[in-house]
């Protein structure tokens, strides 16, 4: 009888533990501890928006700075703080009115447009210098930087490398989401807001760089 009670207790404990594990399993198997919102359908939508963002940003940067698709996934709100230097840059590119209401959408558009076109200008200049059998000089670089609204130049490659995302946390409250995503290069945190039932990214920042 004692054995039957012991057996029943063990089986019951096992079933309870199994149920607990199943209940806590998230929709994302990131291979690391994951903190979910308990709203798996919304999480899927949010993950999709962030994945789209990575794809859209990659395409824009590689495509010479065409940021016309950014409004599909980003939005200007007060969630992304704009400092004076950034506001001045936005005003230079998009004008005063846009600078006044700028948020993550506008900042990313300005940044990536300049990154994308700066990269193309730099590549062209390197190619031209090579044809002239010379190297780029400080004068060349200064001129390019001035043309690129003073932004430091860099090369972005056109590879189709797809960033693998691992979601570490998605917290949803009052129509707003905070999502933490590991993308290999670092840990990023995005804020998303819901507008007419659709999620948009209103802020992004890097929490940790792992490169």
């Amino acid at each position: 009888m004692k054995n039957k009670i012991l057996f029943g207790t063990l089986v019951g404990t096992g079933i309870i533990l199994l149920l607990l594990v199943v209940a806590n399993k998230s929709s994302v198997d990131a291979g690391m501890s994951y903190r979910g919102s308990g709203l798996p359908e919304e999480e899927k939508k949010i993950e999709k928006v962030i994945e789209n963002w990575y794809e859209i940003q990659t395409t824009a940067r590689a495509g010479g700075g065409d940021v016309s698709r950014y409004p599909e996934v980003l939005v200007d709100t007060g969630d992304y703080p704009i400092d004076e230097e950034q506001r001045a840059l936005i005003e230079e590119v998009y004008g005063k009115e846009r600078a006044r209401t700028a948020g993550f959408l506008t900042m990313m558009q300005v940044q990536d447009m300049l990154v994308g076109q700066g990269s193309e200008m730099l590549k062209d200049a390197i190619k031209k210098a090579r044809e002239e059998n010379r190297e780029l000089t400080k004068k060349d670089l200064d001129e390019l930087q001035a043309k690129n609204h003073g932004q430091i130049l860099g090369i972005v490659d056109k590879s189709t490398h797809k960033t693998e995302l691992a979601f570490e946390a998605i917290e949803i409250a009052n129509g707003k989401t905070t999502a933490r995503v590991y993308d290999g290069g670092g840990l990023r945190e995005f804020i998303l807001v819901q507008i007419d039932g659709q999620w948009f990214i209103s802020s992004g920042k890097t929490l940790r760089i792992d490169v």
Binding site: Y54, Q57, T58, R61, A62, I82, Q86, L89, M107, M108, V110, Q111, L114, V115, G118, S119, L122, K123, I126, K127, R134, E135, L136, T137, K138, D140, L141, D142, Q151, I152, L153, G154, I155, V156, D157, K158, S159, H161, K162, T163, G184, G185, G186, R188, G204, K205, T206, I209, D210, V211
Partner: protein, 478 residues
Amino acid sequence: MNRKHSRWLVMLVLILSYAALPASSMVSQASTSTSSNLSLYSLPSITVDNANTSAISYGGAWTSAGYSNAMFNTLHLSGSSGNYAQFSFSGRAITYWYSMAYNRGSARIYLDGNYIETISAYAPEIRRQVGRTWMLPTEGSHTIKVEVVGDGFIDVDAFTSNIQYVDSAAQYDDSDPQTIIRYFPDANWYRATGVSGAYNNTLRWSGVATELLRFTFVGNSITYMFSKANNRGIAAITIDGEDKGYMDLYSYGLMRHLGVTYTGLAENIPHVINITVTNTLNPSSSNTFVDIDNFVLNKPLTEIYDRDKAVTYADEWARGRNTNNFPTYQWDCVSYLSQMLITGGIPMIGVTTQADTNWDWWYRCQSAGNCSGSITWQQVLSMNSHASAYAGQRFAYRYNGTDLTKGDFFFMDADPYDGKTEYTHARVIVGWGNVEEGAYAGQWHLLANSHSNDRRHIKWDWLVEGPNYAKAFWHLIY
């Protein structure tokens, strides 16, 4: 084909092409002599004196007269606007020899009918045999025209096609029997031997105004070595017709083997440096002698940087901190890069003034473990600005990571959400090989190391692949 074999081939081509020239083309009044290097062109060097009016055509009224220390002791002069001297030649380089002086003006230079530039022949005192060389895109028949602007006299001393030069990093002694250094007049430059402390124990000197020596070389910097003493005067320095100012050789006590270096010269064009006796002197000096100990053609940049040594160091310290010999920083990816560069032989800049600008790059140690460095030594943005400041001189911007070679480096912007391109990390390139860690372990790739997050022999762009990470690829020109 290695460089030695190339030179032999070029020499052979030279001999054959020279032999093939028609007699009428041999207008030289100065014989060609052997050159240690002819890699810029294969046709012979020919010098034509201004007096050779069958080779040089003069437009307008020019005066011909004798002048001491001109190449053949004569000059053609004109001060009238539009007058010109024109010379046709075969080759790839043309050198115009002229005098600079207080009554000289400027001249417009045309090559093959195209205006090139206007040069000034003004100098506060007479400087003979100033040489300025222009390169043509191809070997062949070309024409140079020197046109008087009219703001002073312009003279023609001579033209030389395919001027001979030296380009090997070496010390060229005043007593070199190959007469690589030319003295005018040769007999007036006293030959001193057994001079203790001088290079090769020899010196040559002169104290007579307008007497000169000149040296033709290819390289981006040249050092003039001399003695200072209480009987020394002031030398005027000219490079390619540019007034480089004066060197006062006076000192109360005797000082041997001193030098002044002129940098920033174009790499692939022959340069002529002239040292002219000015017959002026420091009030404390007893005479006007100007001497030469030797010239140092500084090591070509390509020979300075020992990439193997640099990479050996980078590998040895990939996971360690060389705190005894270098400054220590918490985030040390750029300091690690700087250590690699300095170990490979890249010279520091600004270590004597220890200024903290993007133009400088240095470190110093007061004692083991007590070291400090410039901001460029340690910070990504500053080091990138430093590389930009010396772009085309020390560093060359490259298109792709795979354009880099061992001992090069790159910066990356690892934060795509801060609203700007701001480089945050550096990696050094250590060559091609099997990846030791990370996603591509075991595969053959271009490899990189880094500090801050210590990495050794990773695929060069692991974790920063794709367009989301802007990068600056820097190749060392050395």
